[in-house]
Structure formats: structure tokens, C-alpha cells
């Protein structure tokens, strides 16, 4: 096994042409993290008299609220206020767009646990205890909980949608070989280590400042203003950092900020909402679970002629972000494969469960694993190596147009990556060795798989592809940086600061990174879709360049040289033999009335998408990757262990290879959790029974493959992105599909030639069921 005694970044070669970007700087908060000195919302010193809020929740999943007796709640010790729908001065609506989700239920019950009221008390303990004293009378209706339930009721949160090319039905029927199946793909809880939290501090004349742990301060601002019934300008949201987000703190952060603000409005005191972990599980949305019903036609070599898939997405009780999530499942329903005749259809199913939401990959993983499952099925049926079937179907010049009409311009990158990994992971030889092992091992079976990924970068809601930044240079040469992106651990703040430091030619620590704040940078997009660095980095660069231009012109005039001859580096400004410290120049600029502040702006070029016609170029570019995983399963118990994973991931000319390596490894393990140990279980009443880490199992240290080799593929992006780097937040999540396929391979070894039904997540029970499905 490989053990690193020194930090190493496989694939990274130091570059000389830049001073700060393309370097493995540690996370800007690393030294604070390890000392416990990084301030999260709950660590902010509470203003004197801060009150605490707990949520009263529905104890039924469906029905009508007939009565809500809160007298015992009001009478409980230390309770100062109880808030219900009637106490909302603005609009009782926290939905991002479709006005279909209230802050507090006032008639229809949408899911088990839905907020009915909130208690404001002197202590958090008093608030939590009082919140359990509400007497709730709900006329119960039978809940729809599963994909199958929703197919029976016919309930949708939005209309069905499909895109197609050619005639998938006819072409499937005409193909030499055909297969079909239904594949269940589980949901996933974000399990950000820091739960949802907001601290609202009332100001004068109706102003409200909310410290919120959110990926989308602008949306939180809108919702708080809507609930309070005040203009957006009265509400300021600040987010220094989150203890993890993963998509779970976009729309899902709004309610708690709104309730804290409502409590602050009602009492005039600062109010904090910090959800207990069990409540957080029940009150916030998760990754959508899917059932993919597929049919495929192909030739002798396993090349697909036609693919017809219905993605049944369980959206939960409201629209939330499902339009984008399910669309993205469709966009990635072809992964990296040329599908001559294809139909990718979707249903957006409504159930009486918490509304499913954004989660790293945003539907992409579900669409992608469906077709990877199909690749494995074809390979089994044809008796071919699954990798050969995959390679035979890759996009290639001339067969490089996606089902939604975008041409894949750099499809050669993927083949290059996959072949490199095939060699470096020793895939072929290991497959032979594993087959020999399986032949003499009746109880334990091993499996191996190498899977590719292709992930489109940009928000598919086009207007979100913009960003702003605010840059100040002070007269001592220090730099203040602010932008609309949020820091959740991914290292966005570090990367954007690197861009600004590079621009000014100053050391990284001269750039002071500051908390995201809607008063400094307004109208921001959520930090999501892997695009935080691409867009905010460009915006910050644009801001820095404006200031630098003014400083350059001033310096050129002082020195009597051309602006092009003025160079910023090493914390100084040079022209020929003349030079001065960056701070000296800044001071001189101020004295000479040169403006040292700028707002930078960026909008992603070239992208467009016509949803009605289902065609366009929704993605600025694609990120690629490949992974090879090996597993062993116990055929008597279904237990499984990932033995080795080799990852090769395309990060372009990485801005920070150390942070990117962390994103790739972390995303893979998170994806592995989604497909293995993480199982969401709702009981017949619609109660989530896996609502805490005691029952919901994310990977721990020993689940990390003991042999885990990650390498960055660092060919510069062909598209003009920030320093030719590529987005990295979400794509490597889907490298974990290799784990699913390897488990399938191991199950297959129990009875070669069979078609096991292996559902995700592959818990021991799912694996044992898959073995049973082979009829051995």
C-alpha cells in the first residue's frame, strides 16, 4: 500500500510562469480550523439577551391541520413568544419560485415533521422542551411516499419533460439485441457536519442582519424580506463560512433564517435557530431518489443503437430546486456515450415527504449511473468486458453530439484519460487475477470496474451564470476581497484570493478574504453547480484589473513610461530599473486621488438553452474523469469492502492542485457513501427512521479504500475559463459509480452470465438480494 510521509499531489508539476495561482496553497482557514479558532455561526459571541428558537413539527405526513393548541407551549418555563403562520407579517412562502411551500403549515400538511410553529425562549434547552408540548390535531390522509405511490396517485410537482433524437422506440425494436430493466437509485442526506443555523439581529427601522450558514445569501435575503414583508434593502445576510454545504444549504437554509428573523421581529431581541441534528434530518431536503426504467438496443459489439429511459424522480412535497435537478439528471443521462436514437424522459413525482433538493451533482449522478448500469448489463449479455463496451460507445469525432444538441468539443480528453487509467491501474491483469481468485473462493467474491464521467459545467438556468466581486486596495497596500461566492470548505475563498494576489503581484496573505455579505455584493447566484471559482474568480479578476489599470497608468505617468512597461510582482511595482513597493504606490494613488476600489463583474459567455425545443449549448465546457475500483463481497452476509480505487480526474490547469485533490478524493468518498452505506428509510407513516448518525451511516475512515490512488489530469481547459482551470466541486462525485459497478461485477461472479438486480445503495441487504436475484 502507498503511504505518503510527505504531502504529495500526483499529477501536479510546479509551474514557473505564475507566482500565486497554480500553486498548492493551504486552505485560507486551515490554521484556524486546526486550532478550533475558525468562527462558525454558533461560535459568534451572542449579543446580550439573545433568545433561542425551536421548531414545532407535524406528527403526520399528510392531511389537514384542524387544530393547534399551543397553550402548554406558551406556559412553559422561559418561553417568550410562540410563532405560527398567523404571526407572519409578510407572505407565508419560502419556495424559491412556485409559492408551494409555506414557512409554517396553516392547513395542508405536506410531510412528517413539517414546521407548524416556533418557540422563542431564553435558552435553547427551554425552547426545545417547550416545542414538544404543542397539541396538534391533524386529520390524517394516507401518505404517498414512494415512486410507486406517486405513479399511482399521478401527483407531480411539475409536468413531465423529455428530449429525444430520432425514434428510440423503433430503433430499439430494430436493434440486433435488446435489454430492459428498472433500477432503483437511493437518495442521500447531506450530513454537513455543521447543522442548519441562523442568528438574526434586529436593527433600527425594521432592518435585519442575519448570520446564516448558507450557500445562497441572496436567496436567504429574498425569503427573509418576503416573510418580514420588508424590501430586500432592509435585510442583510452574512456568511463567513459553512461547516459543509454540498447543496443542502441553498434553498434549505432559508426557513431557519426566516424563523430567526421572525423571532427577532416579534421580540426585538437577537434570535438564534440552531437545529438539533435529528430535526435537521427531518426538516431538510435530500438528494432525489430515482427509479430509472430503461430499454436499450445494441449490436454484437455492444454498441448502442438506441436508448430509451424514463427517469422517475421523487421530488417530495414541493418544487424547490427539482426543475434543475431533474433536468440535469436528463443532461447526464447519456454520460459520455454517443446514442444515435435516444429518448430521455422524466417524471417529477410528488410525495408526502420533505422536499428533495440540491445535492452535489444536482441529479447528474442519478442520470449517469442509470446508463452505466445499462453498460454493465450489455457487457454481461454479450460476454464482453464492461470497459470495452464503454469505450466502444464513447463520443468520438463525428459522433459527438449530445441528445440535447451540444457538441462535445474535447471528447478526445476522455479517451486519453480512460486509457491512461486503464494502464496505470493495471486493469486488465487485475481482472484476470480476480477471476482466478473467484474460481476457488466460494464465500468471498471480488469485482472490479472502470467507469468514466463527463459533467457539464454551468447552471442550466442561464441567468445564474454571473458573478460580482468587490475589491479594495488600501493605502498600505493590503487588499480587501469580497465576492458573491460562499465558503463551505471547498477552498473557493483561497482560490479567488490567489487570482487577486496574482493580478496585483502581491503575496497571498496581503489579500484579506472577507465574509460574503449581501450588502457588499448584491444579487449573487448560489455557490453551486461547481461554478463558484469559475465565475467569482473571473469577477474578482475583473475588479482587480480595473484598480490595477488605474495604478498602472498613474505609475507610468510618474515614471514617464508606457503603461505596458509597468509590471507588478513580488509585492512591488517595476518599470525598467525603477521600482516601488506596492503599498507605496497605493499610498501615492490615494494622495493623487486615484480610485482604489472596484466592482468586478462576469457573465459566462457562449451558453444558451432553449428548453421548449430541448436544444442549445447549456454547458460552457465539460469536465472529465475516470475511476477504477475493486471490491470484495461476502456472499453469505452481503458485507462489502472497497479494496482499491484509482482515480484520474480532469482539473484543467488547476488554480490550486492541493485543494483540487481534496475535492476529488472527498467527492469520491461521498459518492461511495451514497452508493453503499447511506440508506434513507421512511416508515409506512412517512417518518424518516434514519434521522441521525446512529442510523444513517456516512463513510468513516476505515471505509476509505486502503489502497487509494488519486491523480490530477492537468491539461489546460480548451475553453477560456479562469486560468484555464476546470470546475471540480461536483464532477468527481460520480467517480464513485465505479464502486457500484465493481460490486455488480462481484455479484456477477456468483453466477456468470446472469443479470443480477442490484439496487443502490448497495447495503449488505441489497447485495444479498442481488445474489438471490440470480437464482442460485
Amino acid at each position: 500500500m502507498l503511504r505518503n510521509k510527505e504531502p504529495v499531489i500526483p499529477g501536479y508539476e510546479p509551474r514557473e510562469e505564475t507566482a500565486v495561482v497554480h500553486k498548492p496553497h493551504p486552505h485560507d482557514s486551515a490554521r484556524l480550523h486546526v486550532r478550533g479558532a475558525a468562527t462558525y455561526v454558533d461560535d459568534i459571541r451572542e449579543p446580550n439577551g439573545t433568545l433561542h428558537v425551536a421548531i414545532g413539527m407535524a406528527d403526520k405526513a399528510s392531511g389537514t391541520l384542524r387544530g393547534l393548541d399551543l397553550s402548554a407551549v406558551r406556559a412553559a418555563p422561559d418561553v417568550l413568544a410562540v410563532l405560527t403562520a398567523a404571526d407572519i407579517p409578510g407572505k407565508n412562502d419560502i419556495a424559491p419560485a412556485f409559492a408551494d411551500e409555506p414557512l409554517f403549515a396553516d392547513s395542508d400538511i405536506l410531510y412528517h415533521g413539517q414546521p407548524l410553529f416556533a418557540v422563542v425562549a431564553r435558552t435553547r434547552d427551554a425552547a426545545r422542551r417547550a416545542a414538544r408540548l404543542g397539541r396538534v390535531d391533524i386529520k390524517e390522509a394516507p401518505p404517498a411516499l414512494t415512486v410507486e405511490d406517486a405513479l399511482v396517485t399521478g401527483a407531480r410537482v411539475l409536468p413531465d419533460y423529455a428530449f429525444q433524437r430520432g425514434d428510440a422506440v423503433a430503433a430499439t425494436s430494430a436493434a440486433p439485441h435488446r435489454l430492459e430493466g428498472a433500477f432503483r437509485i437511493g437518495g442521500q442526506e447531506h450530513f454537513y457536519l455543521e447543522g442548519q443555523i441562523s442568528l438574526a439581529i434586529p436593527g433600527e427601522a425594521g432592518e435585519m442582519l442575519v448570520h446564516s450558514s448558507t450557500q445562497d445569501p441572496t436567496e436567504v435575503q429574498h425569503i427573509v424580506a418576503r416573510i418580514l414583508g420588508v424590501p430586500d434593502a432592509f435585510v442583510t445576510i452574512e456568511t463567513r463560512r459553512m461547516g459543509g454545504g454540498f447543496g443542502g444549504k441553498e434553498s434549505q437554509a432559508c426557513a431557519w433564517a426566516a424563523i430567526a428573523a421572525l423571532g427577532a421581529r416579534a421580540t426585538g431581541a437577537p434570535c438564534k435557530v440552531r437545529l438539533d441534528r435529528d430535526d435537521d434530518f427531518q426538516l431538510t431536503g435530500k438528494r432525489h431518489d430515482f427509479r430509472a426504467d430503461w430499454r436499450v438496443g445494441y449490436d454484437e459489439a455492444g454498441r448502442i443503437r438506441a436508448y430509451d429511459v424514463m427517469l422517475n424522480a421523487r421530488c417530495g412535497c414541493s418544487v424547490d430546486l427539482s426543475p434543475g435537478v431533474v433536468d440535469r439528471a436528463m443532461f447526464h443521462g447519456s454520460n459520455a456515450y454517443w446514442l444515435p436514437d435516444v429518448r430521455i424522459a422524466s417524471r417529477r413525482l410528488k410525495t408526502n415527504t420533505v422536499s428533495n433538493t440540491a445535492f452535489r451533482g444536482f441529479g447528474g449522478p442519478q442520470g449517469m449511473i442509470a446508463i452505466e448500469r445499462v453498460m454493465d448489463a450489455i457487457a454481461r449479455e454479450r460476454g464482453l468486458d464492461p470497459l470495452d463496451v464503454r469505450k466502444a460507445n464513447f463520443y468520438r469525432p463525428g459522433a459527438d453530439v449530445t441528445p440535447y444538441g451540444q457538441t462535445v468539443e474535447d471528447c478526445d480528453t476522455l479517451l486519453e484519460l480512460v486509457e491512461e487509467l486503464e494502464t496505470s491501474s493495471d486493469y486488465r491483469a487485475r481482472r484476470g487475477e480476480i477471476a482466478a481468485f473467484n474460481a476457488v473462493s466460494p464465500v468471498l467474491k471480488r469485482g472490479i470496474a472502470l467507469t468514466p464521467l463527463m459533467f457539464g459545467i454551468s447552471f442550466t438556468l442561464i441567468h445564474l451564470n454571473q458573478a460580482s466581486a468587490l475589491v479594495h486596495v488600501y493605502s498600505d497596500g493590503s487588499v480587501h476581497l469580497n465576492h458573491g461566492g460562499t465558503e463551505m470548505g471547498q477552498g473557493l475563498f483561497t482560490k479567488v484570493a490567489q487570482v487577486v494576489a496574482e493580478e496585483f503581484g502581491v503575496p497571498l496573505d496581503w489579500v484579506r478574504i472577507t465574509a460574503t455579505n449581501t450588502a457588499k455584493v448584491p444579487n449573487a447566484s448560489p455557490t453551486a453547480a461547481s461554478s463558484g471559482t469559475d465565475t467569482n474568480g473571473m469577477a474578482a479578476q475583473a475588479g482587480a484589473r480595473q484598480i490595477k489599470q488605474r495604478m498602472t497608468e498613474f505609475a507610468a505617468a510618474q515614471w514617464g513610461v508606457e503603461p505596458k512597461d509597468v509590471v507588478f510582482r513580488d509585492g512591488r511595482v517595476f518599470s525598467g530599473n525603477a521600482s516601488m513597493a506596492f503599498g507605496e504606490l497605493a499610498k501615492a494613488c490615494r494622495v493623487n486621488r486615484i480610485h482604489l476600489s472596484a466592482a468586478g463583474y462576469y457573465k459566462t459567455p457562449e451558453i444558451h438553452w432553449d428548453r421548449e425545443k430541448a436544444t442549445g449549448r447549456p454547458f460552457f465546457y465539460y469536465a472529465f474523469g475516470a475511476a477504477c475500483s475493486e471490491v470484495v463481497i461476502d456472499t453469505l452476509t452481503g458485507e462489502m469492502k472497497v479494496l482499491r480505487s484509482d482515480l484520474l480526474h480532469d482539473v484543467g490547469a488547476s488554480l490550486n492542485p492541493a485543494l483540487d485533490l481534496g475535492q476529488v478524493e472527498g467527492a469520491f468518498i461521498q459518492g461511495m457513501g451514497w452508493l453503499t452505506t447511506e440508506e434513507l428509510v421512511f416508515d409506512a407513516k412517512g417518518r424518516l427512521t434514519t434521522h441521525a448518525p446512529a442510523t444513517y451511516k456516512i463513510p468513516v475512515a476505515s471505509d476509505t479504500p486502503p489502497d487509494f490512488r488519486t491523480r490530477l489530469h492537468m491539461r489546460p481547459n480548451q475553453t477560456e475559463s479562469i486560468y484555464r482551470a476546470k470546475a471540480v466541486g461536483e464532477p468527481p462525485f460520480m467517480l464513485a459509480i465505479s464502486v457500484y459497478s465493481a460490486i455488480l461485477d462481484a455479484v456477477h461472479a456468483v453466477k456468470p452470465g446472469g443479470q443480477p438486480r442490484l439496487e443502490a445503495p448497495c447495503t449488505p441487504e441489497a447485495i444479498l438480494n442481488a445474489i438471490d436475484s440470480l437464482g442460485v
Partner: protein, 495 residues
């Protein structure tokens, strides 16, 4: 108030070391947790709350005590540890580690290896690694995984943390905790007064008697008091069920109650022995028990949780009970001066009901050694290998007469409302030959009839029944001698 050794006054304040000084508290809520005190009273915000139930480890702090004259470094979950349980200890938190701007070696390695992303789990991880750093021996990969099993990280995938740990935990610690060890030992020793602790009044108190006699007296006087072992379960009654226990009797200071005595017949575990202390003794009884203990909760849970607590709370899914029932263990109970012993399986009457009278407490657990003709195995099956609760826990002891089974003890957890023996299967196994699978087919069928398990979030009834049968088959295959590995752990060890 409470009884004490002759001539000694009961102590009325909680005393512990913190930030280089001694803290004495004469008033606190009996149900206050250490995390509440740190964050709300001491203003120490570095220690985080992630789950409030002892599963994520974000709240990990380290307790130093003296054991056989040496300093311990026990990682514990502050969110469910009751404040009173730190009596006599030195409480070390994340804020203690760096000296000025100089990071502790563990902290520096976490920075160098890029071991933090969002940073919220990081203080807990650093504290777990700090405890490992002080184990005074180079840490293996398996030991690092073990040390981190109770620390969830959602960002990194653990690789850089594992690397940081392996690069740092290399043997002899070099830090100020080591250079100041003598002073720290002295300060901690000064707190060990051997007196009973009683903070509060008759209506609401946190008491920690120093002797078994004092404990017996208090249990008799306050039969409704909560008997607190490690608080790895009672802590959750408070943080999750919002119960409000007013009278708490902590067993952790009772002299001798944590004693482990080993002789030719077996091992006697005092009820207050922690799972961590007990693990090597259990492993010596059989390697499967060692494996089981390594998967029992997490390091933090094993440092706090006790043998007596695991048995006394009667969980149908506790790991230890089925393993020890199959082994033939017995439990010892005490009330006042009276002691009784009963077979462990008889202690569990029904779900949530044990054979324990008011005022009675579990005082010890006695585990016999295996005979030469006895084969034993224990298997835990759960969704996740480490730090999970079993879906099915199966344990088997076969007494062989030549190549035939003369007697069998088969016990399961997760299959009924209590840990339970499979009497039908046990009977059907008599006379079976492990090498002849046809001869034990009837036992597998009988086992399927022995239980009617439930479906819950861990597994369905069908899966549980199926796996129970498969585990018995596996155990028998192993006794017969299998050519290829039958366990993933065995396969990994051979790699």
C-alpha cells in the same frame, strides 16, 4: 449526606483541571453535559456540536487521568458526557494544543497534508489524533482508522487525515504535555481525595460515591436514581429524549468497581470497567471478541462506556450480550450487602425489562474460558463496518466430541426483543458433524424457526432471518476448515 470512609467528609463540589488551573463547581444541573459547560459557561467555542449523540466526534475532547501512576489520554464525546464525569480529570480541549503561534505537531500535520476542508469536524479529529499521538508507540494504519472511527468527516474522504496521522504519530511524543507531565501528574493526583462526591440536594444531585458500600447505601436510599456508567446511552436520554433525570449516581469513582480479574477459569469484569479497559481481556478469551470490541461504538464510546452499562441497559442490539451469552457468561448483581449471580441470558426478560430489582445494581460480569474441545465464533453484521449498530449479531460455541458437536450455544442479537439463544438450533446441532453440511441442514431450518425478527431501519425481517442462518452455516464451515477465506477481515489481513 452520603457515606464516606471513616473520618472523611463528603465532597460537595466537582473538581477538575482546566486550562492549567483547578475548577471547583458546587452548583450545576445534574444533567448538564461537558459540552454545554465548555461552550456556554467557559466560552470555549472550539469544541463543536455535530450530532449531540456521540456519533460524529466533532465534540471530542481528551481527559487525562492517572492509571497505575501513568497519565491517560482518553478521547471522549463531550456532547453526551455529563459534566460530573470529569471529576478528578484534566480536561484538554482544542484550545489547549497550540503554544502561541506554534501549532502542535498533530495540528501542523493536518495543515501540511490539507486535512481540513470545511473545518467543522477538525477540532474533534485533532483531539482524537492528539490522544493517539500520546499512545507512546508508532501508530499503524489500522490503529489510525480505529482512532478515527468515531470522527465523521464529510469533506475530505479521510485520506489526508490518515496520512497526517501516520506521519505524526510515530512514537515518543514531543510536546509540552510530555515535558510538563510531572507537574500535570501531581496536579491530577492532588484531586484524588478518595472522598464521596455529592453535589446538589436530595431532590436533584449528581453523586459519585467512592466505595461500593457508599454506592449500595445510596442506591438503597434513592432507588429511582439513574445509575450512570459511561453515559453513552443515558447521555442520549438527556440530549435527544429531553428527559430530566434529577438524581444521578455515577459509578465511575467507586473504588474497585472497574477491577478486571483474570484467572484460570475466566475473567471477572467489574461493572464500571470501561469497554476500552475490557477489550484486551476479551480478546484474550477469543480473537473474535477482540475484533468485535474494535468495532464496538468508537474509541470515544469505548473510553466512556462500561461493561456493566452495556449489559444493564438491556438493549436488544447491544453487541456484547449475544457474544457473551454464547460464551456462557454470567452476571453478578448487588443490592445492599446481598449479591446474586445468574446466567447472562436470564437477565434479559423482555424488551426494556431486565431482572434487576429497584436499588439493585449490576456489579460484575463473569466470562469463562473456552475449553480445548470448544470452538467459538462471533459475527457482527451492520451496514457500515465501523461504528455501527448491528443488524444481526451472531455468536456460537460448539463443544466437540471428536468430529461431532456434543453441545452448542447459539446466541443472537437483533433477532428478538432481547439478546436470545436459539434453543431449537442448539438442540438440532447435537450430533451434527461440521464437515458434513447435510448433517446440519436441520439445524439451519430449526434456526429459521427460533426467531421472528422485526423489520426496521437497519434491515428487514427477511434479511435478518437469512443472515442468521448463513452465519450459523459460516461458523460450521469454519469449524470444518475452509480452504478459501470466509471473512472479509481475514482476506484483508492476508493482503
Amino acid at each position: 449526606m452520603a457515606a464516606s470512609a471513616p473520618g472523611m467528609e463528603t465532597r460537595r463540589n466537582l473538581t477538575f483541571r482546566f486550562r492549567g488551573g483547578t475548577v471547583a463547581l458546587d452548583r450545576f444541573s445534574p444533567r448538564a453535559t461537558l459540552l454545554d459547560w465548555l461552550r456556554e459557561e467557559a466560552g470555549a467555542k472550539g469544541t463543536k456540536e455535530g450530532c449531540n449523540e456521540g456519533d460524529c466526534g466533532a465534540c471530542t475532547v481528551v481527559l487525562s487521568r492517572l492509571r497505575d501512576g501513568a497519565l491517560t489520554y482518553q478521547p471522549v464525546n463531550a456532547c453526551i458526557l455529563l459534566l460530573g464525569q470529569v471529576d478528578g480529570a484534566e480536561v484538554l480541549t482544542i484550545e489547549d494544543l497550540a503554544e502561541g503561534e506554534t501549532l502542535h505537531p498533530v495540528q501542523q500535520a493536518m495543515v501540511d497534508f490539507h486535512g481540513s476542508q470545511c473545518g467543522f469536524c477538525t477540532p474533534g479529529i485533532v483531539m482524537s489524533l492528539f490522544a493517539l499521538y500520546h499512545q507512546n508507540a508508532p501508530a499503524s494504519y489500522a490503529e489510525v482508522c480505529d482512532a478515527l472511527a468515531g470522527n465523521l468527516c464529510r469533506c475530505t474522504g479521510y485520506k489526508p487525515i490518515l496520512d497526517a496521522a501516520l506521519a505524526t504519530c510515530e512514537g515518543q511524543p514531543v510536546d509540552r504535555f510530555e515535558t510538563q507531565a510531572a507537574e500535570r501528574r501531581e496536579a491530577i493526583a492532588a484531586l484524588a481525595d478518595g472522598r464521596d462526591l455529592f453535589v446538589g440536594d436530595e431532590n436533584a444531585f449528581f453523586a459519585a460515591p467512592a466505595t461500593e458500600a457508599a454506592l449500595a447505601e445510596l442506591t438503597a436510599r434513592f432507588p429511582d436514581a439513574v445509575l450512570l456508567g459511561g453515559a453513552t446511552d443515558v447521555g442520549l436520554w438527556i440530549t435527544k429524549l429531553l428527559r430530566d433525570p434529577k438524581r444521578i449516581l455515577w459509578l465511575g469513582r467507586v473504588a474497585g468497581l472497574d477491577a478486571i480479574r483474570s484467572d484460570a477459569d475466566g475473567v471477572r469484569f467489574g461493572a464500571a470497567a470501561t469497554l476500552k479497559q475490557s477489550a484486551p481481556h476479551l480478546a484474550a478469551l477469543h480473537p473474535d471478541l477482540g475484533v468485535l470490541m474494535a468495532r464496538f461504538g468508537s474509541r470515544q464510546v469505548r473510553e466512556s462506556g462500561t461493561i456493566g452499562g452495556n449489559i444493564a441497559n438491556g438493549s436488544p442490539i447491544g453487541d456484547l450480550a449475544p457474544a457473551l451469552i454464547a460464551l456462557g457468561a454470567s452476571v453478578e448483581l448487588r443490592k445492599g450487602a446481598a449479591t446474586r449471580v445468574l446466567p447472562l441470558e436470564d437477565f434479559f426478560i423482555a424488551y426494556g425489562k431486565q431482572d434487576r430489582a429497584p436499588g439493585e445494581f449490576v456489579s460484575a460480569l463473569v466470562a469463562p474460558r473456552l475449553g480445548e474441545a470448544q470452538a467459538y465464533s462471533a459475527f457482527k453484521v451492520s451496514k457500515r463496518f465501523d461504528e455501527d449498530i448491528s443488524a444481526v449479531m451472531g455468536a456460537f460455541r460448539f463443544t466437540l466430541d471428536g468430529d461431532r458437536i456434543a453441545e452448542a450455544r447459539v446466541a443472537f442479537g437483533g433477532m428478538a426483543a432481547t439478546p436470545k439463544r436459539a434453543l431449537g438450533a442448539e438442540k438440532a446441532l447435537i450430533g451434527a458433524r461440521p464437515a458434513d453440511s447435510a448433517s446440519w441442514r436441520a439445524a439451519l431450518d430449526a434456526l429459521a424457526q427460533d426467531f421472528a425478527p422485526l423489520t426496521d431501519m437497519r434491515a428487514t425481517a427477511a434479511y435478518r432471518s437469512r443472515v442468521a442462518v448463513n452465519l450459523l452455516a459460516k461458523a460450521l464451515m469454519e469449524v470444518a476448515g475452509a480452504e478459501a477465506p470466509t471473512r472479509i477481515g481475514e482476506f484483508l489481513a492476508a493482503q
